[in-house]
Amino acid sequence: MTIVFWILAALTVAGGLAAVTLRNTVHCALAVTAAFAGLALLFLQLDAQFAGFAQILVYIGAVAILVVFAILLTRGSETAEHGVFSRTWLAGLCIAAAVFAVLGWAVLRSVNAIPQQAAAPVVSVKDIGNALMSRYVLPLEIVALLLTAALVGAVMVAMHEKGEAK
């Protein structure tokens, strides 16, 4: 457990906590971007360079921008006269705490059973490309189809309907 890991873990958890607790939604979007960056750096710390940079490109580059656009396009709903948390917040918090308790208990109980390979795996982006083009070529095509369909569908859903008042 290096000091770098603890710093990145603290950044990620603090970003996540800020994202779900802050009142201003734009601040929430910024905090979740920090959490995504912390996770990307954790991926890099785990020697998964490709996944780390994909995380930076997709989450910080695309999803965070998309979230900010959605927040700004729905700006009229900012008032929040009844507070930012829903009526059933206590039940939700209890469920989340219970889930964390079970997960943490499972991890700490099985700490001797889980593998602890020390040597860093030597995997280049070329290996990943070769794997994507050989063994994983069918999932790659399916994901390409899914992304195309989802983006066309998102545009269709968000588009103005004909004759609808703005």
């Binding site: 457990m1 958890v13 996540g16 994202a19 779900v20 939604t25 995504f36 954790l42 991926f43 785990l46 998964a48 996944a51 994909a54 997709v58 989450y59 999803v63 998309l66 979230v67 959605a70 927040i71 396009l73 729905t74 009229g76 709903s77 929040a80 009844h82 507070g83 948390f85 829903s86 009526r87 059933t88 917040w89 939700g92 705490a97 889930v99 997960l103 943490g104 991890v107 700490l108 700490v111 889980i114 593998p115 602890q116 390979q117 860093a120 795996p121 995997v123 290996d127 990943i128 794997a131 994507l132 994983y136 994901v143 899914l146 992304l147 983006l151 569908g153 545009v155 968000a158 609808e164």
Partner: protein
């Protein structure tokens, strides 16, 4: 504590935070942010098991995480499109006020 257990605990904590956000916030966009956090926590688990598992050269965990990132991007696009569509219709993103199936 082994390194893998540390990563798994961080992932569990981020997952719980995302779940709490998805269950307690009123704003639909912040519920989506909570779901994204949960997906990311799952990805961290996959990569940590790949890194410390017995066969890292098989690349299974990294591939799973990369495909999961792609699917999460599609999910975010469709989810935010739905939120914008609902906002245009109901003039609100407050989930407690969306209590009718009929428009």
């Amino acid at each position: 504590m082994t390194p893998l257990a540390g990563y798994l605990l961080v992932a569990a904590l981020v997952f719980a935070i995302g779940l709490a956000g998805a269950l307690t916030r009123r704003n639909a966009i912040l519920v989506l942010i909570g779901i994204e956090l949960m997906l990311n926590a799952a990805n961290l688990n996959l990569i940590a098991f790949w890194r410390y598992g017995p066969h890292p050269e098989a690349l299974t965990g990294v591939m799973f995480a990369v495909f999961s990132i792609a699917v999460a991007a599609a999910e975010a696009a469709v989810g935010l499109g739905l939120v914008i569509s609902i906002y245009r219709h109901a003039r609100t993103t407050d989930l407690d006020k969306m209590n009718r199936m009929k428009g």
